[in-house]
């Protein structure tokens, strides 16, 4: 494993905030973080595996919704605020829709939902919460929702 090298080709994307997602190893890191957080939740709470997957799914929903679809702009001032009206999801891949990265990020909440609902045997109230989480996340990632602010929530002042 230590001798397995990957080529890091710098992509032609000027936005330093989203460019890091185009390098090799991101998908694996994302999946590994989800798996290890499930293990940690299991060991801290001592609950059933299904409950742990539900907790992971819901916290994944909160974290990714906040950072991908709520926070706008970039965490550094170098680009002089040209992305200040765009969320991270809208800045990804320069606004091009349906790229490989976007498809991957849309599939992950769905897979998490399937695992969580299967391991909890489709019981309420976990099923309801998981369904709400996956619906909100997947709808937020539709191409038609690019730059749409429903009822003016989170719009620019």
């Amino acid at each position: 494993m230590a001798n397995y090298y990957v080529k890091a080709v710098p992509p032609a994307d000027l936005n330093r905030n989203t460019e890091w997602f185009m390098y090799p190893g991101v998908w694996t890191t994302y999946i590994l973080i989800l798996f290890f957080s499930w293990l940690i939740v299991l060991s801290i709470f001592g609950c059933s595996p299904g409950m742990a997957w539900t907790i992971v799914n819901l916290s994944h929903f909160l974290v990714t919704y906040h950072f991908f679809h709520w926070k706008k702009g970039t965490p550094f001032a170098e680009d002089q605020g040209i992305y200040n009206g765009l969320t991270w999801w809208e800045q990804m891949d320069n606004g091009k829709q349906l790229t490989r990265n976007r498809k991957f990020l849309t599939v992950v909440p769905v897979v998490l939902y399937l695992i969580a609902s299967h391991t909890t045997d489709y019981q309420h109230p976990m099923l309801f919460l998981n369904t709400v989480a996956v619906l909100v996340l997947v709808i937020a990632k539709f191409p038609n929702m690019h730059k749409v602010r429903i009822f003016g929530i989170n719009a620019d002042k």
Binding site: Y5, K7, A8, V9, P24, T74, P75, G81
Partner: protein, 489 residues
């Protein structure tokens, strides 16, 4: 081509994720604490930073602030004095002490060794300081053109190999003030994805449409050119007024040379103008120091605008643009840096003229040729030794810029501080100057480094590299080769 070990990529993402998460948690508590102790005498004022903007500076950069911006107390020669600093509040503020430590300088762009006192250049610079005073106190068009300025422009034009040149007081300004003059609305700028911030700023300020092509990939440049020429201006699809391709001679963060002959061939085929930024390559590469064009065998008449700076190889300050007589005449009428900015300081101009004379051998000695040979030998020796030790070093042969890849964010301060403790001063670069994954320590070799200096540097870097764990490639097995030879006998 940068080859990362897969495990390192995973751990780097994880480290940045952890740093980001900790930063967010601290921000959340800061907001909570501020909301509780609400001292609202700033009611009604708009916030200076919009939420996220200074997150990187506050939560990541300030933690390792002591690795950047170290003050020095002497001229940046091969060995220099670094002022020691300490901090009482975990690196939020740093205080200078009066102690200095003498360190080996691997960070200054002192390619030909003109940074310290030179036997030919310094007396002449002091003379011109006494004759012309430190500043001309005026812009070029008012009262700021002395005989030195005219001599300097002729000297630079002759050195670079173009009919005429114009000189400015600052290197960054040369790019950011010239591009808006040359290109405007309705023009197209195609720039390499790793171009310097001055070019990006100048391009953004010009109002032209900007497209980026993959770093140093002539095939992608051709693809972008074809797509843009066929498509025309956005929305109206009218043909572009002019197209300019901007590349650099040596990329300062990679140490790579530009693939100039292929790019020039493509630009000529599609009738686009070329702009070559030789900030790091002028005076440092090429048989007589004339830059990438000489090194790669490109005729200077094929490059339309050649830009460079005097800070790197000539030990001075300022930048120049060299081109045809009509181009320079036009720039003299329109460029704001020429019309309104103070002209280059006379002792600096004299330093440039003297250093160019030394490089060309016109001072009567062959020190210039010696310096050029020495920097080439030093760079090749250092690079091959580092690669033999197992470091991942970027850049082409003959290039005096050598980035050593670090990757993990924690290795950046570890490498920097440990090297400083052993009296070797290196410059480390991280996000956002480089891509997130690819943090590096950048070494600049100078002609004033002696062989002993380089060997000491190699020892220290090897020891620190073992401690920090950045020898990502296997070391060259010398013993194995010897064993094979014994077996044959």
């Amino acid at each position: 081509m940068i080859a990362i070990p897969y495990l390192t990529a995973l751990t780097t993402y994880f480290s940045y994720g952890l740093l980001f998460a900790f930063g967010q948690i601290r921000d959340f508590f800061r907001k909570f604490v501020d909301w509780c102790s609400s001292s609202n005498n700033l009611q009604g004022y708009a916030p200076i930073c919009l939420g996220l903007e200074d997150f990187y500076t506050r939560r990541l950069y300030l933690r390792i602030q002591d690795c950047f911006g170290r003050p020095i107390a002497s001229a940046p020669d091969a060995w220099f004095d670094v002022v020691e600093r300490y901090s009482n509040d975990n690196n939020k503020t740093l205080k200078r002490t009066s102690n200095i430590s003498r360190c080996l300088n691997l960070g200054s762009y002192n390619y030909l060794g003109f940074a310290a006192a030179d036997e030919f250049c310094t007396p002449r610079a002091i003379e011109s300081l006494k004759k012309f005073s430190p500043s001309t106190c005026s812009s070029r068009v008012d009262g700021g053109t002395t005989v030195l300025h005219n001599e300097l422009e002729e000297c630079v034009a002759k050195f670079v190999g173009k009919p005429a040149a114009i000189v400015f007081g600052m290197g960054y300004v040369t790019n950011s003030a010239i591009l808006p003059v040359l290109m405007g609305k309705g023009s197209l700028i195609i720039s390499d994805s790793l171009n310097h911030n001055s070019i990006v700023n100048g391009a953004r300020g010009s109002g032209a449409t900007i497209r980026v092509f993959q770093h140093n990939t002539p095939s992608h440049l051709e693809e972008v050119l074809r797509e843009q020429i066929a498509g025309g201006q956005p929305r109206t699809h009218r043909p572009w007024k002019k197209i300019m391709v901007i590349v650099e001679g040596i990329y300062s963060m990679e140490g790579e040379l530009c693939k100039l002959p292929e790019i020039i061939a493509i630009c000529k085929k599609y009738k686009a103008y070329t702009y070559l930024d030789e900030a790091h390559s002028i005076g440092a590469v090429g048989k007589t120091g004339r830059g990438v064009c000489e090194l790669l065998g490109v005729d200077t008449a094929d490059v339309d605008v050649m830009m460079g700076t005097f800070t790197k190889s000539f030990g001075s300050c300022g930048g120049y643009i060299a081109g045809s007589k009509e181009l320079i005449q036009y720039l003299k009428y329109t460029c704001p840096a020429h019309l309104y900015a103070t002209s280059i300081s006379p002792p600096c101009a004299q330093q440039i003229i003297s250093s160019i004379k030394v490089v060309l051998g016109e001072d009567g000695t062959n020190r210039g040729a010696q310096k050029l040979a020495r920097i080439r030998e030093n760079s090749n020796f250092f690079r091959s030794e580092l690669i033999k030790m197992g470091f991942e070093v970027l850049g082409d042969n003959d290039s005096p810029v050598m980035p050593i890849m670090l990757y993990n964010p924690a290795k950046i301060p570890a490498f920097s501080r440990e090297c400083l403790r052993q009296n070797v001063a290196v410059v480390t670069v991280a996000f956002p100057a480089t891509p997130l994954l690819l943090a590096r320590a950048r070494i600049c070799i100078s002609a004033s480094h002696t062989k002993e200096d380089l060997i000491k540097a190699l020892e220290v870097i090897s020891k620190v590299g073992d401690l920090v764990g950045i020898k990502y490639f296997p070391t060259e097995p010398e013993k194995q080769q010897q064993d094979e030879r014994m077996k044959l006998e």
